[in-house]
């Protein structure tokens, strides 16, 4: 009797294991992990691709862009951490100020144009902490300017709003699958942002997807330039 129950339990575990194994990825994994590496590489080789990821962080819609960079992860990492070169890489960024640079993190202030309309140029800036998990992941959180002035770099931002760079080596380490996960809140930025999101809620994810696509493409282009 006991043996039969034991066998049933084992069979149930085996079945559960098989189901999970077939699924191939956990609910909290990034959406691109739903594909096997070969499928993923083929997909990214086809052009600029992004995902709306609703499964990774409960209640959040994340924009995730992926690209194949023809350079090893180490080189891609160096491009990502070369903050001073960002104004050359991304049109909208006008200036970068590195506030703190340590082996495991950096605190950086970015200045950028939100809009250029003839002589009208509207600029904004923000401070971020880039936390390194070398050589595969960078987690970015926003910092409060007042704390930064006091040299307090402990993040107070909700971890669910973190921005991520992930580097996955492919082609025997000669190329890199680069993923950028981003999330923002246009509505929180003021009256206009709130109006835009109320009028068309999908403007939020459209904005995040476009940013993710542009940034991954910028890194790819920079790597291809060899500079």
């Amino acid at each position: 009797m006991k043996n039969r129950a034991f066998r049933k339990t084992i069979a149930a575990f085996a079945l559960a294991a098989a189901v999970f194994s077939a699924a191939g990825a956990n609910a909290a994994d990034p959406i691109w992990k739903q594909l096997d590496p070969a499928q993923l590489e083929k997909l990214l080789d086809g052009g600029r691709v992004a995902f709306v990821d609703r499964a990774q962080r409960p209640g959040k819609e994340l924009a995730v862009s992926g690209v194949i960079v023809n350079a090893p992860p180490e080189k891609v990492w160096n491009i990502l951490a070369d903050y001073e070169s960002y104004p050359k890489m991304i049109n909208q960024i006008t200036r970068v100020k590195v506030i703190e640079k340590k082996s495991d993190f950096a605190v950086v202030q970015f200045y950028m144009f939100l809009i250029k309309l003839g002589p009208v140029k509207i600029q904004t800036d923000y401070i971020q902490k880039w936390k390194y998990d070398k050589p595969r992941k960078i987690t970015i959180v926003s910092l409060d300017e007042k704390n930064v002035k006091k040299k307090k770099y402990n993040e107070t931002d909700d971890p669910a709003n973190a921005i991520i760079w992930e580097l996955v080596p492919t082609s025997d380490g000669k190329r890199t699958m680069l993923f950028h996960t981003t999330i923002s809140d246009i509505a929180e930025s003021g009256m206009v942002g709130k109006y835009l999101v109320e009028r068309q809620p999908t403007i939020q994810i459209g904005f995040d997807l476009a940013n993710a696509l542009i940034q991954t493409e910028a890194v790819k282009t920079r790597a291809a330039s060899g500079k």
């Binding site: 959406i31 960024i93 250029k116 930025s189 999908t202």
Partner: protein, 223 residues
């Protein structure tokens, strides 16, 4: 890297006008080429369906001599292709489904084509309402594909398509919506506003494609 969230001083009217025009224009879809974009639509459809259980796929390809951006969205409908097809082609319902659409009228239906006129609200602030309209031609291959092309209206170069693939034994559908439009053609003001802002154009186009594909799927799932 850059993640601008502060849009405090964007000119409301200009931005809203651009978005509303884009949404309106994207209530439509393009003629087939050799290896038509997006590349991911050639993936195994079951693998694509598994991916779409977790979200949506989006891509941007540069197409045609005008080098316009073709925005494509892949989304999973928990409904068979026939229901999704109804949701796409029942144009009279677009007015209820789309946030900025004030009218959608079938001007002509013959054989496998339809001419549809869409009217959208570009700006609505208190008593002030500004609208624009445009006509699109749909060519149907039911319930598999609908091609969309521009006939008249201020925003030009609108073209795209809907494609439906049955998955999970025909119970679900992988829905692909691809659309391009030349937003800068809407007016010199809009053109100037967008010239130096590729991120804005892409945001608007993606946002518009997402909203339409989502409302179509939502309707299909309720049919």
């Amino acid at each position: 890297m850059a993640n601008p969230t502060s849009l405090k001083r964007l000119p409301v009217a200009a931005v809203c006008a651009i978005i509303a025009v884009a949404v309106a224009v994207c209530a439509s879809a393009a003629p087939a080429a050799k290896k038509e974009a997006p590349s991911w639509k050639y993936m195994d459809k079951q693998a694509l369906a598994r991916l779409l259980e977790k979200g949506e796929i989006a891509s941007v390809d540069v197409v045609g001599p005008e080098k316009l951006e073709l925005c494509s969205i892949g989304i999973l409908a928990k409904a068979p292709p026939e229901k999704v097809w109804r949701a796409i082609t029942e144009f009279d319902d677009y007015e209820k489904m789309m946030p900025d659409m004030s009218a959608a009228k079938v001007l002509e239906r013959s054989g496998n084509t339809a001419l549809v006129e869409f009217t959208v609200t570009v700006l609505k602030v208190s008593m002030l309402t500004i609208s624009t309209d445009y006509v699109l031609k749909y060519t149907f291959d039911a319930p598999r594909r609908a091609d969309i092309s521009w006939v008249s209206g201020k925003v030009k170069n609108v073209s795209g398509y809907w494609e439906l693939y049955p998955v999970n034994g025909g119970k679900n559908t992988v829905v692909i919506y691809s659309i391009t439009s030349d937003l800068a053609s809407a007016s010199p003001l809009v053109g100037a506003a967008l010239q130096e802002q590729p991120a804005t154009v892409m945001s608007i186009n993606l946002s518009s494609a997402i909203v339409l594909s989502r409302v179509v799927v939502d309707k299909a799932e309720k049919l």
